[in-house]
Subunit: 353 residues, 5 copies
């Protein structure tokens, strides 16, 4: 996860608000429009080329879910905006993938921006933006690229599992957000595993590389936090949205709210744990430095004085009476040995090894 | 206490809410259902195989306490849910042992999730989830495994000690939570003792191992905090639950609330103290490094110049007049001794030893 | 961005409030007064020498925008104050460029102080103060120097792009603030790029210089934060300003409010990231120190004992039987080699290289 | 101040609430009961053996102050509880000396737990618990041991100094709390003095011992904070206790509230200062390490190359033409001197000494 | 600024509240009482010996400002208290110079405690306490010593500059507080300058002394913060004091409130900057340590092996065939040169110099 820049392009700065410009990487080749219309008795599912046919479903009593994968095509967003009375500022927000999660109340609908997380093969976490519009009888969802995040919801609608077919569009919106939060669990679990691997590595074979890994974890946490924190507020205020959110759905939203707090809690705990890992790494660095220094000091402190002694008797003065003594050489060797052993004992006593 | 992952299993992600799946380690072999029904005059205690017989007690004026040890058996939870009108989302929460402590108000009952702590022989702290449902005339409690945490409450009911037999199910719920919080005191006391031992070790014989111990304490505190913090809110909002919680029980709950805050306070103090220990450890590392360096420097600084001097008079130049002087050798030895002593004095003055 | 002093000049201290003194650097040579008066059908744009002619436009139904570049000329500010009923304390605030962003409600108008950011060629960020007065039918804006920050707004008015010509002066004020916030995006994007370059540098070739760069980033963030944080409150309370801010503009302000929070979020993330960079730098310093120490220790630990051995056989004692042995020299060389290799192996085993 | 454990004894865990067990060290040999009964005209002071005689004073219009020193005697507490209608939970709290400061409102009385601080000869700070019950016409105070903390209040009552004899029991309670807070000032002043001594020591002759002193200061601050922080809330809510606290006493309580905040402020400042001391100590450690390393490096860097040179001319090759040159020896000495001086100059230029 | 002790003298502890004792250093030789009485048309200014004459002015319609320099004379404070109906607790607060800034509402007057800052020649910051009593028609101000801080206000009253003569005593109180806050700007500017000098010093020639300077800055900030923070609340609640503070003064107080926040902001920024300086200093220490170690390692690593080689050929073995070879000496010199250069190249490649 690179330091995500705020990508509001220079062309956009100063442009009148409501100007539709796609901001962000283009992640899908084409835009796919999928419509599911259902009530307790019946499911109708089609893939559309244009928005117009969707209008037939809009005002029926059934729940209409229009999912758009790929948001780079401005005309489609505009067309939807026109047909479903979505304000141009909201259209702009759908196109701009750099928003933080939020909920906006409009007269006829609620607009939510959410972030999905995805860990790639290398373990790097990427975010994608999902926008959801909850209106009377319909839900619009916009994804940056084709994803499988809503597949299980579709499955439940088709197979009439759970109560989804019996409930209204507010429950569908809940189900969509819930599947996003469920996804956070997966990503967090993966990160939790990687933190444990890192911790193991730190305790057994720390390397300079470890510091960089800790650093990149920290960055991921900073950015995940930015993506997840505001969600609490989003779900919290969704709870209070009468009449679009009905009493019977509220219980589920409260449950979702608990999950959101749990996710935030976990991110915070991970931050604390990662900070602890850095401390541990620095401590282990200091410990090893200490060990290295001790080895050097022991060796140098023992041999430097002995070398000096040898140097003294290597001097070439003519008058050095000791040189001629018979036992001088063995005596000096004995003295040297005594000195060396004495020092070793002294270091041992200091607890240096 | 390993980094507790959020264990929402992959199978569960995207499943409709209210799907009953047991999440967590299976800690008990079988599920044990214990029923205690009591009023001021009488106690009835049985172990049940099925839930159905419990229904006879449900609507009596007496207090019915149904305790379930072992929550992996989904059918039992479902059966209880059906008989006691417990919503499927609540059943799901009972089965999922990864919840944070919370209190949920439902129309007819209160649902609480709590965490018990247990320190094993090695001093590692484990958490277990306890769910409590407080309804009109009954209390349901769910434990992950058979534990002795509620034994003293049972004892008090049987022996009619204290006022428990005179009070309603709200007082029973209070007594259960109180025994959980009492248990925190034990665990915290044990941790307090271990922190003191560690501190002692740090001041007398620090080892690289110490850093890892401090680190693991830090992690335990992070996770204990996560388990205990939300309890304050749980007890706090329990205080406001009319009519299920009666005026006469409120005094006891306020007392419990004080205990909860005291426990949180202690956890926070421990965190501060542990942070201080890490600082102290790093400081002691630096101090020892300093000492090692001083020894090396003193030895090297004294003997390196002397060795150089000896080296000079070990050179083999033909013309080196000093070599022939009569007193050159004693003189050079004297100079060397003077140099060495001079340096020692200089280091002494600098306060290096 | 040098440590911005509070430049309230000594002359000013103790002066009666409302005394008009220009506080700050004089950034413009002359003061330029530009007037744009527009409604849905018509735009009138002139450059004025004096304020008086502007009065003709003041009470018309059209929107009058008076923009003053260069605020060092006290008389002009005074004249405007007189003609537009702007309190002397407000005039004083316009002249004092050391204010933090704020919104003041007055009986007839709103007064806002904002900060623009500008990154110069060397990447240093400078702030400039913009004051906006929003009255009934008119907007006054004051800039420290001639800038191009409002050019796009002018362009939109002239070319009737977007809805600006159809809306009132509150929308114009919104457009001005929006263009300031848009500008923050540019500056933040630039800083984000520079942080990435720094991070790259840190990972590949850290230098003592890096620390200073991190330090100067930190300072910039401290000061940017000071400039941007209060903006949230300004826009937030602007939302509640009836009747000067009309319902139809409120939607745009809410959008602006989101942008403001996003900008603040980004500044906070950058602060965290920069703090992380410093940690990483210090860790890499320790790592390199460790590496240097290991090289020294390996070399010294291998050669110091060998040199001692050589020294022993360089002594000049008459009676040193080994010296005469035939194989002594090759033997001692072999011993030395064995010692050296042995030590290398030992270090290898310790994982030192 | 050792890490204060939560001493809820194992016997107590799980016991019914309201069970009277003395928790804490037994600090007094016997329990002393002192009664002072006074009104504007008269003071009656006795030492009691039993509680019963106190009942005569209870319902008179005069103010009755019953002070109990030593709380290990459960029967006395029980007796008081019975006579003065004090709930068994409150009795339990009086006996348990591990409470944090708090105020409890009961129907007929207020119950307060407070902590006194006492610095012993070695400068270690100890806490003691004082419980105060403020009822209609009487004040009960409980101390762990006989102390002189309330002596001045007694003195004022006897000698009719100040207004104490003219006011009600609420003023007496205020006077008691005030004398506890006054005592904090003494302890904080003493700690302030010790911090200054430590700071002086740190700047002039830091020793490894200093780190431990800083650490023990930190711990004391953690525990003092725990004792003092909640006091703010206690006094704050005491202010709102009508009708037990009368209007005329409120002014004095507000004054007391200010003092409490000032004490908390000081504790916080001390924490900051102590944190600063640790930074300063670590910095001074690094500085001294740097100095030590420089000395070593200067000496080694100068003499190691010179020693090498001497070694070269100490080699025994037969063909070494320089050895025979007439001026070789003085020349080599000159070269060595030049090298040494050159290096010294280089280090000087680097600013190493 | 030494660690300011809480100087509540031991004599005072336990004394009845309202006992008048002067707490603090005696900063003035004598007490000076200055009276200014003014309305729109007239100014009367005298220096008084006693308080009595001031009473003539008290109940007039004009504004009466009584300024007392030097508060050690308890009788004067008492006299004022008697004549102006100032409660004895307030008198006590005036005499005790260790209060934190606060505002107290009394029935007939407002009592404020404020702190002035003064930087002495050595750059150390000292605080002094100013107490202000704002009553109906009069303002009393108490300073520890004669100061020039209110001179400009006097000047404005005399010369009828600004609107001060047209406004009531609330505006006078505002003017006094404003001149105190203006003074903060001066002190902060000076500190800002000193921080820049320190930063410059840190980047060009850091010395162990620098750490102590940073430390003393930190302490000053801790204590300044303690003095300035509560001011926000004081001015904030002054804004709400009807009827003593009139509507027309409120605008000025809001302006003052902005200034207060700006001052607090600046103190906070300085704290952050100073914390950054310490980091920078420690980093520069580590950098220099690294540099020192590299020099040592390069020199030692090059010459230690060479010295060993020389040592080998300095051995006195009889049988050392190389010694007799013709080109052995030049060859060994060449080998040594090659070794040395090779190592230098290796270090160069590692980027060590």
């Amino acid at each position: 996860m690179r330091s995500k820049k705020i990508r509001r392009p220079k062309a956009k700065v100063g442009a009148p608000p409501g100007t539709l410009i796609h901001v962000g990487e283009r992640k899908a080749d084409s835009t796919q429009i999928r419509l599911i219309d259902y009530d307790e008795n019946r499911v109708h599912e089609t893939t559309l080329e244009k928005i117009a046919p969707a209008l037939n479903f809009r005002d029926r009593a059934s729940v209409t879910w229009l999912n758009i994968d790929g948001i780079h095509d401005i005309r489609i967003i505009e067309e939807i905006g026109r047909h479903f009375d979505v304000h141009s500022l909201v259209q702009e927000d759908i196109l701009n993938t750099d928003h933080r999660p939020k909920l906006e109340e409009h007269v006829d609908f609620l607009f939510m921006v959410l972030k999905t997380l995805r860990a790639d093969a290398a373990g790097e976490v990427h975010t994608e933006q999902v926008s959801i519009v909850l209106g009377k009888g319909f839900v619009l969802s916009f994804q940056e690229a084709q994803g499988d995040i809503f597949d299980k919801v579709r499955e439940r609608i088709r197979s009439d599992k759970g109560r989804i077919r019996k409930m209204g569009p507010d429950y569908l919106a809940y189900a969509l957000i819930d599947s996003i939060v469920d996804n956070y669990y997966l990503v967090l679990e993966e990160i939790g595993d990687r933190i444990e691997v890192l911790e193991e590595e730190l305790l057994t074979r720390p390397s300079p590389n470890t510091a960089q890994k800790i650093h990149s974890f920290k960055r991921e946490m900073i950015l995940m936090r930015k993506a997840i924190w505001p969600l609490r507020e989003v779900v919290g205020s969704l709870l209070r949205q009468e009449p679009l959110v009905r009493e019977e759905t509220r219980l589920y939203l409260r449950d979702l709210y608990d999950h959101t707090i749990q996710v935030i809690d976990t991110v915070e705990s991970y931050r604390d744990i990662i900070a602890g890992l850095l401390d541990l790494y620095l401590t282990s660095l200091s410990n090893r430095m200490n060990e290295v220094m001790k080895v050097l000091t022991i060796i140098a402190t023992i041999f430097i004085p002995l070398t000096f002694l040898a140097g003294v008797y290597g001097m070439n003065f003519h008058y050095m009476p000791e040189l001629e003594w018979r036992w001088a050489y063995p005596a000096i060797l004995a003295i040297m040995a005594a000195l060396g052993v004495g020092m070793l004992v002294a270091f041992k006593r200091k607890g240096w090894f």
